[in-house]
């Protein structure tokens, strides 16, 4: 029997002072004010769904990153760092940076030149309506689930830290997001995401600064973690030779081929939640620079997410436990490590800012999901399948209503999420279902002109079904993990990585085989959609230090050096 979450939590961590409440209230007021200010600038479809395609590289880049800085990032990965050690950083470096640079330099020109409104929209242009339908429906399903994850995480923080009722938190946050996205559309979501990006850094950066001070520096912190946990908790690569040599229960092949080559590529290049922010860029140079700017900041996000988790291992007096144990015993779970560290160092004012940072992170993730869901529903499901003859005004109204309905569905999803033992595993499973096969379809579509509509559709369908089948197989028979992840010693995260890899390969193989057996499109039909048939517009005669390729190189070098340092 599952114990209802609300009855199994420890007493609240902190009590807010008056100034904390003022800071939180000011944040909500500012967010809503931005929504009301922008409501007059969301009257056309291009404005509401694409923010007028006038964002600078910096705004698009920070929004691109901030849309990903939701509940998963802030609480989930801090908890993973406590549970698995510094290896969790793989999800920020090799599990993000190469994909973001690939998006900027290779894929973005195709997205941008095709002037598509969405990733499913690109699939329609490249493979036809069936591929779009599969992609759009699966994406819509995934986004509302993700949005529910965000809501649940936020309500949980409010309950643990402040003792607020979980239902109250869900409804306050969801209604706020509904108001500002309904009023200002994507532009409002992007503006608030950039604001939230700054708040997250302002509110969370103090934890690693004070934590390192308390631990007497990085070298001493490593010694303390080795003493309290294991030497492998402070190495990223050296324990990846086998499944049993590291706390994550994964090997290097799972990280490199599963995470970096498939899941990360799939997420950062085809998940419309993040790609939508780049499509709102004002020109192609901004569209290419935005992911590079995002990658530059992404490399340093572990400072405010992973490092607090590691510090928790060293300085917290209590031992944190898995979510399933915490639900029964009332002890603190891994996912509580960030609010615990916040309560440890932050007095009046700073505590309010830290709580605001968490709320901002949760709400940016939720708003990102809702705005992406709205666009995909309106342009890729409603318009082609239900009502193709509506006016632009009609579709904008549909977008506003869809925002409200999407939020309500997310609220329902939030209650479902409470039944799952671990937020992280749940979200990773979702990624494996949809993202990996989608990446296979999109990348073949962009780089291989022989890929046909039938091949793309069947490849995407078979890849998605294979992923769900593997997940269900392991769920029904846990010993099947030895076949899916190639080792009886593999753990849950390893399963996700290999499941993604196999579903990607299924997608690619089916697409190739079916394409070779069906009639290809002509070159003329593929112009603007496929590599080799698409003249990429010049970004102009600009100095080398303004070129995307230059900054991609800089980010690549820093990425390489960081991995060596923390090997």
């Amino acid at each position: 029997m599952t114990i209802p979450y609300a009855f199994a939590v420890p007493a609240r961590l902190v009590h807010l002072s008056g100034v904390d409440v003022v800071i939180i209230a000011f944040y909500f007021a500012l967010v809503l004010a931005i929504g009301f200010y922008l409501r007059g600038r969301a009257n056309t479809g291009e404005d509401f769904f694409m923010a007028g395609r006038e964002m600078t590289a910096w705004v698009a880049g920070l929004s691109f990153l901030s849309a990903n800085l939701g509940a998963l990032e802030l609480m989930g990965w801090a908890g993973s760092a406590y549970q698995y050690g510094i290896m969790a950083t793989h999800w920020y470096w090799i599990g993000a940076i190469p994909a973001m640079l690939f998006l900027a330099l290779v894929m973005m020109p195709f997205y941008y030149i095709s002037k598509t409104h969405s990733v499913p929209g690109y699939l329609k242009l490249r493979f036809g309506e069936p591929a779009r339908a599969v992609s759009a429906v699966s994406f819509a399903f995934m986004t509302v689930l993700m949005s529910g994850v965000n809501m649940f995480a936020m309500a949980k923080v409010m309950q643990i830290v402040l003792g607020w009722d979980i239902n109250f938190s869900i409804w306050v946050s969801s209604l706020t997001v509904a108001v500002y996205v309904t009023l200002g559309g994507l532009r409002s979501a992007i503006f608030n995401e950039v604001l939230q990006f700054f708040l997250i850094w302002a509110g969370a950066l103090l934890i690693p600064i004070l934590g390192l001070y308390e631990a007497h520096g990085w070298a001493n912190l490593k010694l303390q973690i080795a003493a309290r946990a294991s030497e492998q908790y402070v190495h990223m690569w050296s324990g990846l030779g086998s499944f049993t040599n590291n706390p994550m229960g994964i090997n290097w092949a799972g990280i490199v081929f599963g995470l970096a080559a498939v899941i990360s590529m799939g997420y950062w290049t085809t998940d419309f939640l993040v790609v939508q922010r780049i499509l709102a860029a004002k020109d192609i140079r901004s569209a290419e620079m935005a992911p590079i700017i995002g990658a530059g900041f992404k490399m340093f996000v572990p400072l405010i997410v992973i490092l607090p988790g590691l510090l928790g291992l060293a300085v917290l007096p209590m031992k944190l436990v898995p979510e399933s144990v915490a639900a029964v015993t009332g002890a603190h779970s891994y996912n509580d490590v960030l609010p615990l560290m916040l309560a440890r160092y932050c007095g009046p004012g700073l505590l309010g800012l830290g709580i605001t940072a968490l709320i901002a992170g949760f709400m940016s993730g939720m708003a990102g999901n809702v705005s992406a869901f709205t666009t995909v529903w309106t342009y890729d499901i409603y318009r082609p399948l239900i009502n193709s003859k509506g006016t632009d005004h009609h579709y904008v109204n549909m977008g506003r209503w869809t925002t409200v309905i999407g939020v309500l569905i997310s609220v329902g999803t939030a209650y479902l999420v409470m039944q799952f033992a671990s937020i992280m595993d749940y979200v990773q499973a979702l990624f494996s279902f949809f993202i990996a096969p989608l990446f296979g379809t999109v990348i073949l579509g962009m780089l291989w002109k022989r890929a046909t509509g039938a091949g793309g559709f069947l490849g995407l369908l078979c890849g998605t079904l294979s992923s769900i089948s593997m997940w269900a197989w392991v769920k029904a028979d846990p010993s099947a993990l030895r076949y899916v992840a190639l080792s009886p010693n593999a753990k849950a995260l390893a399963q996700d990585m290999f499941q993604a890899l196999w579903s990607f390969l299924v997608c690619v193989i089916v697409t190739v085989v079916v394409s070779l057996a069906t009639k290809p499109k002509t070159d003329a039909e593929l112009t603007g959609l496929v590599y080799g048939l698409t003249p990429v517009p010049s970004i102009g005669n600009i100095p080398v230090y303004q070129k995307p390729i230059f900054w991609a190189g800089v980010v690549g070098v820093v990425f390489f050096v960081l991995n060596i340092i923390f090997w």
Binding site: V59, L195, A202, L210, Y345, C346, P348, G349, L350
Partner: protein, 68 residues
């Protein structure tokens, strides 16, 4: 159109002032239960830094100037 950076400046400035003031108040009226590293008075210098950055943003991106 008001620049997004102006909104960010407002947020940092207001929050910075509030946090700095709260830190100063706490400095003169130490609480019975103190947080870890209370002696560093992080609220004062962190709040001041935020307010400074916020003021710079507000000045450079105030309405009427060229938006970014």
């Amino acid at each position: 159109m008001v620049s997004i950076w102006f909104f960010i400046g407002i947020s940092l400035l207001v929050n910075g002032v509030l946090i700095c003031c709260a830190g100063i108040y706490e400095y003169w009226h130490p609480p019975a239960q103190q947080i870890v590293l209370y002696n560093l008075h992080a609220g004062i210098w962190w709040g001041a830094l935020m307010a400074l950055v916020g003021a710079v943003y507000c000045y450079y991106f105030k309405p009427g100037r060229k938006n970014v």
